[in-house]
Amino acid sequence: MTSTRPSPAIEYSPPRRQSTLALLIKILLLGLVDAIGVYALFILFIKEQWLVFGLAVAILALINWIYLVPGQLPAKYLTPGLFFLAIFQVFVVIFTGYIAFTNYSDGHNSSKDDAVASIIRVAQKRVPDSPQYAVTVLRQGDVLSLLVTEPDGTVSVGSADDPLEVTTDAELDSTGKAVGLPGYDTLQLAEVVQNQDAVLALVVPESDDPNAGSIRTSDGATGFVYQASLVYDEQADTFTDSETGTVYLADEKEGSFVSPDGETLTPGWRVNVGFDNFVEAATNEQIRDPLIRVVLWTFVFAILSVATTFVLGLFLALVFNDPRVRGKKIYRILIILPYAFPAFLSGLVWAGLLNPEFGFVNQVLFGGAQIPWLSDPWLAKFSVLLVNLWLGYPYMFLICTGALQSLPEELTEAARVDGASPWRIVRSVKLPLLLVSVAPLLIASFAFNFNNFNVIYMLTRGWPRFSDTTLDIGATDIMITMVYKVAFGGGGGRDYGLASAFSILIFILVATVSAIGFRRTRALEDLN
């Protein structure tokens, strides 16, 4: 036995006795996981999603292998966490990345099949001034027919292959509606519903003339004459307007059917557009100019938010860490209070407090002055920072208090013995030591404030609006609220593709800043 190969007895720790209960729980849980997995596999198999199917098979096999084969103890602990990390983080990030390269937006909402189906459907126009027919669905063997009663009492019958023909043998009910025909079975409402796909697909031509309309029913009781205003040619992948003859060709780059003069049919479908969204963000001046301002303001907001909350939090922490202060507990509770309010609610409350005419701030603190806290661009920026300071300093107070209390008292004493002033002690002794433990939290706080949606959206909604853009973007919008407005149509259409492109931009910015920040923090640690 060589020293590099440990004995199997060391590598495989002897199997510990599992309790029966633990074994049962394991079997039960794994069984359920497998059941869900196999069920998903069936569905994927039926839908012919082979890539996902293969992936699911591999994952399922891996999970079973990990938990059924002895050993792999770390994997046993890590798998659930990794699994959820993959679903809730990695998948979301990758999916957002994918959407950023598509034209997923209003009007390009779904697949091409859906778009074609929807266009065909809407193109079926009821022939103007045509009467409403009472219809009964009949069945002969597997073939469905429509028994049509015209308003004047004429009864005719027809199926998909046989155009309507007048018949006189029909049974009529008390209202004069034909309800049965010898040789056919009449479908009752429940049966009609059971066979609804077939009934809806039933199109009975009015006559042999292919240009004539056709009768269809959408509820199994009434029928109308329809004519298609657009005809789909599957081979050529075109729609042709039956009146004007205009041909709309499928454009796979645009994701729409486009006519030679550039008119498009709605809806379109989702296609990959490469870097178009990024190019648009960089070149469309309606988007680019406000975007630049928003990015700058986002940095200013995040940096000032961290700086102001940290300074106030640190100041209060130093004050209340002093042994001479009495009633520390009560003060500390009071200070932490704003932290206990949901930011969501505070934003709304502050919006009320800052109302120029009826708000508490103007009425009571400023003696009835009409200060436009939220509608002047600069004051609105100030108000947002102020409210965020109110919301954020308790957190900084908490972490600074924690860090200060962990600093050894001897250091302060030693400094005092050396004759350092209190300010000097804070600056040269406490602060550097404090920053070692607090700096990573400041970076986290920066990343949080960079995406601090609640404060902005609940307080100002990003307004007051910029006047030089048609987008609903304003002076206090930060990137995340801008993304939200673009994605969910804050004044305009939804554009998930563009919003995802912005999200990627945010990701890059936050990642860069954090990376730089953490590197600097390491330098800070080395100093000490």
């Binding site: 209003d106 009821r126 409402l189 009826f358 509608s375 987008l471």
Partner: protein, 418 residues
């Protein structure tokens, strides 16, 4: 070996559990026969808000009795339901039927998430304006059930006579307020950040400046923007004047306006039927006046129509169509919805019954005949924003009326085109 043996045993037991669980999943869909299971035909799902859900219980039960199909009423948050509908329908997870205001219809059609409905002769039973609201680009998509519009509500204890023009309203209001600080000559809820073109619209139309021109069918035609015409500019100037005079106040939002009116701090309140129940409960002796004209022409409000729409990916289309077209269009259902929501019914017979019993409904309905349905084009979202902002800055006294108004109109034009 013992360990191995246990492993095999465990694997076997696990496989059994997996099979059982799978069988459990599958049996749910297998009971009702193949046809139904394949089509998913046992239930239709309807997205509805809390308020309307109870009114639909009876008709859902009746439908179940007639067809064996359960109508599942799923309660959704109405602030975001249109977005959920648009994003979920393509995935196949959406409902079969949705209750929605008509001004979202343009977005629905643009995204291909609603299916056309042919109402046939039933269409004639509804108010013409309601059917116009359910029509988009010439195709009918929904069954309407209520019509709503703003009206001028007057506190009859404070001002006894109805006024026909806005100047009289203002002078009555001012006379009553007498310059007191906490009394307001006239109230309308305005968002302090984005104004409210919807509520101010009757005042605007009285200057002969509708947002769009009308098409042959009497609906707004988004290709004919009328906002910036001469009347529009007059209205812009008037807004600034009203802002200066304190008739319109950008700091009074919807909540404040209601609070003040309920507290008797103003004789006039421009609002819709949704606030009537609270006004009644507050014991205000109110009257519903016709909308006053400010610019000399008729003051036309926007009409909002609520209706039922069919999803384009409903797996149960025939049943859902049956339910919408033949069950929800009945007098009983429309009356039940009216009784719960207080919004005048769209079905003519139900409206007439309601109007005969309730003078408020008659008064609101009278005003509705002058109005035109709100435009439903998808670009409307951004139109509201620009339009409201222009109004807001004028009310606050910022900028030159002509300039502010023209800039907004240009922006709106660009958005509709792009």
């Amino acid at each position: 070996m013992k360990v191995k043996h246990a492993g095999i045993l465990a694997t076997g037991a696990m496989a059994t559990i997996a099979t059982l669980a799978l069988a459990g999943c599958a049996s749910g869909t297998n009971d009702d026969g193949d046809d139904l299971a394949d089509a998913g035909a046992t239930t239709i799902t309807l997205w509805v808000d809390t308020e309307r859900a109870p009114a639909l219980k009876d008709v859902a039960a009746k439908f179940k009795e007639d067809t064996g199909i359960t109508v599942k009423l799923e309660i959704k948050d109405f602030a975001t339901v249109d977005q959920d509908f648009i994003s979920q329908v393509p995935t196949g997870k959406g409902p079969d039927v949705i209750v929605s205001p008509h001004d979202k219809l343009g977005s629905y059609v643009d995204n291909g998430v609603v299916a056309p409905l042919e109402l046939g002769d039933t269409a004639g039973l509804f108010a013409a304006s309601a059917m116009r609201a359910m029509t988009y680009e010439g195709t009918v998509y929904g069954v309407p059930y209520s019509i709503e519009n703003v009206a001028l509500i007057r506190n009859a204890d404070l001002v006894t006579e109805a006024a026909t023009d806005f100047d009289t309203v203002i002078s009555n209001g001012k006379e009553w307020a007498g310059g007191a600080k906490d009394k307001y000559p006239f109230l309308v809820g305005l968002s302090p950040e984005q104004g409210d073109p919807y509520h101010l619209y009757p005042l605007q139309t009285s200057y002969g400046a509708p947002v769009f021109g009308l098409d042959a069918e009497g609906s707004y035609d988004p290709t004919k923007l009328e906002l910036g015409n001469a009347g529009g500019l007059e209205f812009a100037a008037a807004l600034k004047q009203w802002g200066e005079d304190g008739v319109l106040n950008a700091n009074i939002d919807g909540d404040k306006a209601k609070e003040f009116f309920l507290a008797g701090k103003s004789p006039y309140y421009l609002t819709g039927p949704w606030n009537l129940p609270d006004i009644k409960n507050a014991g205000i002796n109110y009257a519903i006046d016709p909308l006053p004209s400010a610019g000399g022409e008729a003051a036309q409000p926007f009409i909002g129509v609520n209706g039922f729409f069919l999803s384009s990916k409903s797996k149960n289309e025939l049943a859902a169509t049956q339910f919408i077209v033949n069950y929800l269009s009945t007098d009983a259902v429309q009356t039940a919805l009216f009784e719960i929501g207080g919004r005048p019914p769209a079905l003519v017979t139900a409206y007439e019954t309601a109007a005969a019993a309730d003078p408020d409904v008659a008064a609101l309905g009278e005003i509705a005949t002058t109005g035109v349905p709100m435009p439903a084009i998808p670009a409307m979202g951004s139109v509201w924003a620009d339009w409201g902002n222009a109004e807001l800055s004028l009310i606050k006294g910022e900028g030159d009326p002509t300039e502010v108004w023209t800039t907004a109109v240009d922006n709106i034009e660009a958005k509709i085109a792009g």
